[in-house]
């Protein structure tokens, strides 16, 4: 039986590399056109090629989102673009407009995954998509556990579901609030997240339609058992730190399931980490029940800026590590280091040097280069954060 795939977003090349080394099995990215995050940095063809080469060397796959709802004006360039992306080495396209399924399957030997934008929610639709040679379906977020199982059992289709991150309040593809409120086209990557606005309703103020984030960590074992093929993390605009923390947590949970070593203690620890990095309340939404009041988020857009990410290891020379600083820390602070090997190491900051190797007491200039001497061996791209555990 195939192991479940951990699928990470990446908004640019740096994030793609971080995702690869922090436990993702595959990464989905957007090109500079045709993807539903039009305002992420996104990838040029040259970057797609570099990203694919990097990922493939590590045995990972890269998928490209081509999941805008096309208008006439978008059609002309798309065929050349698809060829360029295939030549760059992409493993699959994620599409929502069905005319593209036929085109890609008839002309190229790459997989086609059907985007959640089409909100596929039943086995009959999945059977139909199988006849169109779709390789994988990303199910609607509204589909519950038993329906997912039945769809897998009765169709044999590769099924992908979201396991972590922000949720749409409305059915994907069935919301154009952004078009009407802001003229930004939600189905072409311009969504302004109106569902998170505070509105007036009747005589009440502060009506919000926002929902809690998705966090499926406690259901991972069950989700593997019912045969889901791919676990997708939301957020192509999320930071490298967020990706590293979330991916490594899910990596540890998934690996523990397969090695039969997952305990309540391990799960509790990972759930704490995931809650901390997300910085919003979370829920499992439709997986075990119909979503209800407990899944709504009524405190508005009040999440405070997360300053947990202190720095990243860029290089190592003997026991001197080059760090790119992110947030304030100082001598004497207890910190955690997370590594691409999935380790979490607790240390105290005993020394700090600026870029001229002069001793300093505080790191307070974001993005500056610092040096730290450590007696432990940690790999490049390890990250320093405030203690979570």
């Amino acid at each position: 039986m195939k192991r479940v795939e951990l699928l990470s977003p990446a908004g640019d090349l740096e994030r793609l590399k971080i995702a690869c080394i922090y436990g993702a099995d595959a990464i989905y990215i957007g090109g500079q056109d045709y993807s539903l995050r039009a305002n992420a940095n996104n990838f040029s063809i040259a970057e797609i090629k570099e990203g694919c080469e990097f990922a493939h060397k590590l045995g990972k796959k890269v998928y490209l989102t081509l999941n805008i709802v096309f208008h006439n004006e978008d059609i002309d360039g798309v065929y050349d673009y698809i060829k360029d992306v295939v030549d760059a080495g992409i493993d699959a396209f994620i599409v929502s407009d069905l005319f593209l399924v036929d085109y890609i399957k008839n002309n190229f030997k790459v997989e086609v995954h059907l985007s959640t934008q089409l909100s596929i929610s039943n086995k009959e639709s999945v059977k139909f998509l199988k006849t169109r040679k779709v390789d994988r379906v990303v199910l609607a977020r509204e589909v519950g556990r038993d329906d997912i199982k039945e769809i897998i059992d009765e169709t044999g289709m590769d099924i992908e579901v979201f396991i972590h991150g922000a949720m749409c309040t409305f059915v994907s593809g069935r919301c154009v609030l952004s078009n009407y409120f802001t003229n930004r086209d939600s189905n072409r990557g311009g969504c302004a997240q109106i569902c998170r606005f505070s509105l007036d309703i009747n005589d009440e103020e502060n009506f919000s339609m926002a929902v809690k984030d998705l966090n499926m960590s406690k259901f991972i074992k069950d989700m593997i058992s019912i045969g889901i093929r791919s676990f997708k993390i939301e957020g192509r605009m999320r930071s490298p730190f967020y990706l590293a923390v979330v991916l490594s947590s899910y990596r540890r949970i998934i690996d523990a399931v397969y090695s039969n070593t997952l305990t309540d203690d391990i799960l509790d620890k990972e759930m704490k980490i995931l809650s901390r990095v997300s910085n919003r309340e979370n829920s499992s939404h439709f997986y075990m029940k119909e979503a209800d009041l407990s899944d709504q988020y009524y405190s508005g857009r009040q999440e405070v800026s997360n300053q947990d990410y202190l720095g990243i290891v860029l290089d190592k020379n003997d026991n001197i590590y080059t760090i790119r600083q992110r947030n304030y820390f100082k001598l004497g602070d207890d910190v955690e280091i997370i590594t691409p090997n999935m380790d979490i190491i607790n240390i105290k900051i005993n020394n700090l040097y600026n870029d001229k190797m002069e001793p300093i007491e505080v790191a307070n200039q974001a993005d500056s280069k610092l040096f730290i001497k450590l007696d432990i061996d940690i790999p490049k791209f390890s990250m320093i954060r405030v203690p979570y555990l």
């Binding site: 006439n72 929610s121 039943n122 139909f128 919301c175 154009v176 609030l177 086209d185 990557g189 309703i201």
Partner: protein, 286 residues
């Protein structure tokens, strides 16, 4: 072009002077439609000779719905229905696999936005496509030129702009510990006096525009290119709606000049023309 009237009642006599084509939902299967059960559909067809009835099955279908949906489709195919509008691919799949003799209308609300997707469905035997209300007249004209599928366009009414499976209004009032029994609620963005309608039912929550869409100028450009123009009376005063319907009927019969037609409609329902002449944008940074 014919007028297809999406109505919220079963008393059709008053509309029949102006149109004989009507659009309803099917009980338990329709988002933002007045729903009829199979018996009510039969009654309407018996009561009114020569009407064309389109039925919209546009909710998201789940596994538990499929057996009943199959039965309903078989029953509908035995009635003299003009066509079934579908959102979920299961409807298309079942009609094809059961070889039901009934015309289909591709109706994925906000996603019917280009000629290739229309042709995709046409090649699968779908007869009509109901275009999205978020594309421009020029885009509609181009679709009409480049696809063989017959087109439907929504010209008058409060178009739906979002649908959730969640009970967003009742959840909010529960959170406040307050009662709210309104069928229709109004939401407004802060500091802007633009209202939207929000309604809740067993299938979840719908948001509609608060302004009445007036697509009459677009209608003049499109009427010779499409099969059906949709006029929707939901949340519109019926007397006013009948006047609008009469004006459209007169225009189709060339009984009224364009200028007077446009002016009279605007006096009745205002001049909100949605996206017929406004392109959406989606990249806010280069």
């Amino acid at each position: 072009m014919k007028i297809l009237t999406k109505v919220n009642n079963q008393e059709l006599s008053k509309y029949l002077k102006f149109t004989n084509s009507f659009l309803y939902g099917l009980k338990n299967y329709s988002v933002d439609y007045y729903e009829l059960d199979i018996n009510e559909i039969k009654c309407l067809l018996n009561k009114y000779n020569d009407i064309e009835l389109f039925i919209s099955i546009n909710k998201n279908i789940f596994n538990k719905d499929l057996d009943d949906l199959k039965d309903k489709l078989i029953e509908l195919s035995k009635l003299n229905i003009k066509g079934i509008l579908f959102y979920d691919l299961s409807v298309l799949s079942l009609v094809k696999s059961l070889k039901l003799d009934i015309d289909l209308v591709y109706h994925q609300t906000h996603m019917v936005t280009n000629y290739n997707i229309c042709d995709f469905y046409y090649n699968l035997g779908v007869k009509y496509a109901y275009l999205s209300t978020e594309i421009t007249v020029d885009e509609m004209l181009e679709i009409s030129d480049k696809t063989k599928i017959d087109l439907m366009v929504y010209f008058i009414g409060h178009p739906i702009i979002s649908h959730s499976k969640r009970k967003l209004v009742s959840n909010y009032y529960k959170h406040l510990n307050k009662e709210n029994n309104n069928k229709l609620n109004i939401i407004k963005e802060k500091n802007r006096d633009i209202k939207y309608y929000i309604e809740e039912n067993d299938l979840g929550t719908n948001i509609l525009t608060g302004d009445i869409l007036n697509g009459s100028k677009a209608f003049l450009s499109l009427k010779d290119k499409i099969s059906y123009g949709i006029l929707d009376n939901n949340y519109i005063d019926d007397d006013m709606f009948l006047k609008v319907l009469e004006l459209y009927s007169n225009k189709l019969n060339e009984k009224i000049e364009d200028d007077k037609f446009l002016k009279d409609i605007e006096l009745l329902i205002g001049n909100y023309d949605g996206f017929f002449y406004t392109k959406t944008m989606y990249k806010v940074k280069k």
